[in-house]
Amino acid sequence: VRRGHRQLDNSRKFSIDGGDGPASLTADQAMTAYARGDNQVFPILYDLVAPRLEGYLRRRVHDQAQIEDLVQATFLKMHIARGHFIPGAEVVPWAFAIARGLMIDSSRKARREEPRDLDGEEDACAGFLSSSSPTGEQVVQAKETEARLSKVYQTVSEDQRQVVELVKNKGLSTSQAASVLGITALAVRLRIHRFYRTMRGALRDGDDFPKPPPAAKEP
């Protein structure tokens, strides 16, 4: 299981001419230019943000049409609110937070729970596995470990999975993830800690899958 925090990769660039020259932009720079009124950069902004937004939504929403609907709605909100964008601010956590807010609004309207995407969760779990080995025995062992962790991953709470996905898969900092989820940074760290404790327990105990730790009061 990979540990430690990864910086949000905002250095991904896009260039109109396909090169990496001065015309290339990061998502933050593209949004800053778009907020100033440069409409030409919106397609660039879309290309930089849409795939990450899709990845974020795919963990929660089963239906492809609904994902696309949410991506479209998120970009529309970003477009309408562009005049309020702070130059130099990070656009991806903002886009995630808008998408999350729209999802909540959708679920309120629909009055039903969104189906969980188990395939996506398995993919996400596989992302935490670092065991790979050239020998057959190690490959088998790694697969067993992956299967064990996948099962345990599905026993941890949705809250913990959301936090781990944002911090470990999407590369958000704890404070950014806290803002996206509307909780404190301390709560984010606690959830990550509990997630790792559960995963470590699964590795230590072999086939005896540990039960998720009791939910303690979070700040």
């Binding site: 879309y46 130099g88 601010a89």
Partner: protein, 215 residues
């Protein structure tokens, strides 16, 4: 994988819906705040404006400068988002007005006690100050909420409440120039309670005006 037609749909949709740029938002925000603050000042002066009522000039200057400084810092925290589009931490939005109100109360009472002007005024319970504070603060609060209604606010309740508390602190500075009473129960009812009331009003209005809705 997103479908290839989605990008075209998004581009088509945003082309149909013009959105203000930063400069246009700044302009409209300035106009809205200008109207809100002007309206509050008109009401303030219609109610009598600055009233000395036997207070020494130095006392008035000290209390006004102190409360303006406290309110100014808190309003900067409450009305702005810093450098993140995710807004300020919720704990800061809660503690800034609470500590400001305590500081405000302590400053006014402390300075007035040096002049022996903290006794009870039987005919001034604090209801007039309460009414004036809420009225003065409501206009800038409305201006702030209207200027933010298209800002895709992620925390509508706390944003609205922060605006309300900020507007309440601003109105408390004006009311301090108007009211000579430094009796603690009066200050609590007429000067501090309006901050909480405006914060609650801002939270309620924020829910309806700022909530992120699917188009």
């Amino acid at each position: 994988m997103l479908s290839s037609g989605l990008k075209d749909r998004v581009l088509h949709q945003i082309a149909q819906q013009p959105a203000p740029t930063r400069r246009e938002v700044h302009r409209s925000t300035a106009i809205l705040f200008g109207c809100g603050i002007s309206g509050a000042l008109v009401i303030f002066f219609l109610e009598g404006g600055v009233r000395v009522t036997g207070r020494p000039a130095l006392l008035m200057a000290l209390t006004s400068l102190g409360t303006a400084l406290i309110a100014g810092v808190a309003m900067w925290i409450l009305f702005t988002r810093g450098r993140s589009m995710l807004g300020r931490p919720r704990a800061l939005l809660v503690w800034a007005p609470v500590l400001s109100a305590i500081g405000f109360l302590g400053w006014k009472y402390g300075i007035s006690s040096l002049y022996g002007l903290t006794e009870k005024w039987p005919d001034r319970v604090g209801l007039r100050c309460l009414w004036l504070s809420v009225t003065l603060g409501a206009l800038p609060l409305l201006a702030a909420l209207l200027s933010w209604r298209r800002a895709a606010s992620l925390t509508p309740v706390s944003t609205g409440a922060a605006f309300g508390a900020g507007a309440g602190l601003g109105s408390a500075v004006l009311v301090d120039l108007w009211c000579p009473v430094a009796y603690v129960p009066h200050l609590m009812l007429g000067h501090v309670l309006p901050i909480a009331l405006l914060a609650a009003l801002g939270g309620v209005l924020g829910t309806s005006l700022l909530r992120l809705r699917r188009p």
